[in-house]
């Protein structure tokens, strides 16, 4: 692997869940010749995580963010597509590859109150991954890591138990636990959303510094655009299992293209009583991930809806500089791409390869 290869690559990754679990229902489906109903939690998703990069994924609850994270982690087998870690596909992994993968890819959970073992001291919590991976360590290594995540003096924290720590301190311990195995990638699932504002700021600042200091890459998942923008280099906007827009953070915020991205940005309250904000005009709730509309999934809420939205939009680059992709019919000329336009994506129509 050369130095400039991406650490992690997702190529048209799908994760679908079957909705039927009962015997009777599956027999019924056989008799009536229907396929099982699928929840398309993650559908045909591409993402490239470069070294030292922070990719943000934002979207409303139920858009598939957490499923995406779990699929990347290997907790779910992808239903389709390929996940490549350092150039190697995870489908080819054997047991020792998986163990190595789990050392190099670490996770920080949303809820620090439940993700630490209450019976483990801070020392044991941080030492556990090292013991699992047979890495030799000394007490000073753990103290050094505690200092790096801002738990100083380390000697005071090392013997404490989670119930003696505040929410922010717990999340720092969780971050230290993730960093101790010298990982390549950190997966962060809304790590600051359960914390108070004053603590949230310190965790965001910490994550910001750490990616620079430790040279790790990160996928950062959140529903809150205003915190994502502090941490991420690039932002992926996810809607019902698909990435609808992806661009560099500032570019996405200052010049959003997709109507959904626009609505998300317009919905963020601004902490300034002098600022007059124009409110988003779209309907409030995402559709049902089981019976999704054909074509563009956002069309039922979209203020710009056109006839062509019944076809699945292509991922296009409206600026032509390779720095943004947006999946929306507004941004390309349908005549020049006529051959590529997808047919309405019915259950039985195979998708035209593009």
């Amino acid at each position: 692997m050369s130095a400039n290869d991406p650490v992690l690559e997702l190529q048209s990754v799908d994760k679908h869940f079957q909705t039927t679990s009962s015997f009777v229902e599956s027999v019924k489906e056989r008799i009536f010749g229907e396929g099982p109903k699928l929840v398309r939690a993650v559908d045909d998703l591409d993402m490239t995580l470069e070294q030292n990069q922070v990719q943000g994924v934002i979207g409303e609850s139920g858009c598939g963010k957490t499923t995406l994270l779990r699929t990347v982690m290997g907790l779910y087998d992808p239903s389709g597509g390929d996940i490549r870690f350092q150039g190697q596909s995870t489908s080819e992994f054997d047991k020792s590859d998986w163990k190595e993968f789990r050392r190099k890819v670490q996770i920080v959970f949303q809820d620090p109150f439940n993700s630490l073992d209450p019976k483990f001291s801070v020392r044991r919590t941080i030492a556990e991954p090292l013991e699992i991976h047979n890495i030799e360590y000394e007490r000073s290594d753990i103290e050094e890591m505690l200092e790096k995540v801002g738990l100083t003096p380390a000697s005071q924290y090392i013997q404490q138990f989670p119930n003696q720590l505040s929410g922010g301190e717990k999340q720092r311990v969780a971050i230290a636990r993730a960093l101790i195995t010298d990982p390549e990638v950190i997966l962060a699932d809304e790590p600051s959303s359960m914390l108070d504002v004053s603590t949230q700021a310190s965790i965001l600042n910490l994550l910001n510094d750490l990616t620079t200091e430790f040279g790790v890459s990160m996928i950062y998942i959140s529903h809150d655009l205003s915190t994502v923008s502090y941490v991420c280099d690039e932002i992926n906007v996810m809607y019902l299992g698909r990435i609808v827009e992806k661009a560099e953070t500032r570019k996405l915020l200052s010049d959003p293209k997709h109507p959904y991205t626009k609505a998300l940005i317009q919905s963020i309250p601004i902490p300034d009583p002098h600022h007059e904000r124009e409110r988003a005009t779209i309907g409030g709730e995402p559709g049902d991930p089981i019976d999704m509309p054909e074509g563009c999934r956002f069309k039922t809420r979209c203020p710009e809806r056109m006839d062509v939205c019944d076809h699945e939009p292509l991922d296009v680059d409206p600026d032509g500089d390779g720095e943004r992709t947006v999946a929306c019919h507004l941004y390309y000329d349908h005549e020049t791409t006529a051959g590529q336009v997808n047919e309405p994506a019915g259950e039985h129509t195979p998708e035209t390869p593009t």
Binding site: G168, S229, T249, I270, P271, H275, G284, E285
Partner: protein, 347 residues
């Protein structure tokens, strides 16, 4: 100036515990809400904001008690009301509550229309049909389809339940609504819509609102005046514009800079070190002193008194150094003077 609808004057609220380690949840809290005003109460978890909401409607846990001070609603002292006095004179009719976990506050085994009938039975002399008709009108106000009034709560999504709750809160035409974190469980777009509805009520319904939240940006956008709380004490009160432009309590200053602002993604967020005290003893000191970069020995020697902020009406800071703050915190007060919002230029 109009008469305030709700006044807190030097209110102490204490929770008794069996071992005698009482929790001094709210200490010497004073603020007032004017008629027709939207008032925001901001602070982090455990600062006593929900305790204040509970005290107003007599809903404190059985070990909680207003130990001193007065709570006046429309000029009348209500802190010593009995349960039945609260039921007859205050709850729903005068003050209604949009609770924190509103998704759990509808009766899951009762149709929404029946819940309205029940409320009407206890508080009004409307007949069943009138009660249901009234709910139907309110569903229209909050943007729900009136054909769904006979549904059960589980048939509604989170945002719809929240609207139904707002409809119930308006049911008896109260003068004051207490909204305790009304939108925390909702997604951004839905949150924005609900807040927008709540805002719209002001003109049509002639109500006042006490909005309790940890999200200072919601208060800045939607309220007229506000109070910032820390560790059981009110730190600063004033109109939102005054508190934003001239914060004079260190916590209010730092809190504003700790809050992410999507317009300025490059700004370093302020960090407030430490955490608030446990409030297990009588609070005769400033609870922010241990976290405050400008604390002096004096701050730990007595609870601070309110200092009026010169030049502003009804703007007070409970800090002994409030007069000096402009100089001391100069770096924090103008953090983004030369920054440009990246959202500018968007249509």
């Amino acid at each position: 100036m109009t008469d305030p609808i709700l006044e807190f004057e030097n209110v102490d609220i204490r929770y008794r515990t069996e071992k005698g380690n009482d929790v001094y949840a709210v200490n010497d809290a004073s603020f007032s809400i004017d008629r027709h005003d939207y008032f925001g109460l901001v602070g982090e978890s455990g600062c006593g904001k929900s305790t204040i909401a509970d005290a107003i409607v007599g809903g404190l846990d059985s070990n909680g008690e207003v130990t001193s001070g007065t709570i006046r609603y429309k000029g009348e002292e209500i802190q010593d009301y009995s349960e039945s006095e609260f039921n007859e004179n205050v709850r729903w009719k005068e003050i209604s509550v949009i609770p924190q976990s509103s998704m759990n506050s509808l009766d899951p085994v009762m149709k929404l229309s029946n819940q309205a009938v029940e409320m009407a039975k206890y508080h009004t002399d409307l007949t069943k049909t009138e009660a249901v008709d009234r709910l139907r009108e309110l569903f229209e106000v909050v943007g729900l389809s009136e054909s769904r009034i006979h549904d059960y709560p589980h048939q509604f999504s989170g945002g719809m339940q929240q609207r139904a709750i707002i409809a119930f809160a308006l049911y008896l035409q109260p003068s004051l609504i207490i909204a305790d974190e009304p939108t925390t469980a909702l997604d951004v777009i839905m949150q924005d819509q609900i807040i927008d509805y709540i805002n719209g009520l002001k003109d049509e319904w002639d109500i006042s609102m006490l909005m309790i939240t940890h999200d200072i940006s919601v208060v800045f956008e939607n309220c007229d005046s506000m109070a910032v709380m820390h560790g059981g004490q009110v730190a600063e009160t004033g109109s939102v514009v005054d508190v934003y432009d001239r914060p004079r309590h260190p916590y209010a200053i730092l809190l504003q800079n700790a809050f992410p602002d999507v317009r300025f993604p490059d700004r370093e967020l302020a960090v407030i070190d430490g955490h608030p005290p446990q409030l297990r003893d009588e609070v005769d000191f400033c609870t922010f002193a241990d976290r405050c970069p400008w604390a002096q020995p004096e701050c730990r020697e007595g609870a601070p008194d309110a200092q009026p902020v010169a030049g502003d009406d009804d703007h007070q800071a409970w800090c002994v150094r409030a007069d000096e703050m402009e100089e001391l915190a100069a770096d924090h007060l103008e953090p983004n003077a030369d920054e440009e919002s990246i959202l500018e230029g968007q249509e």
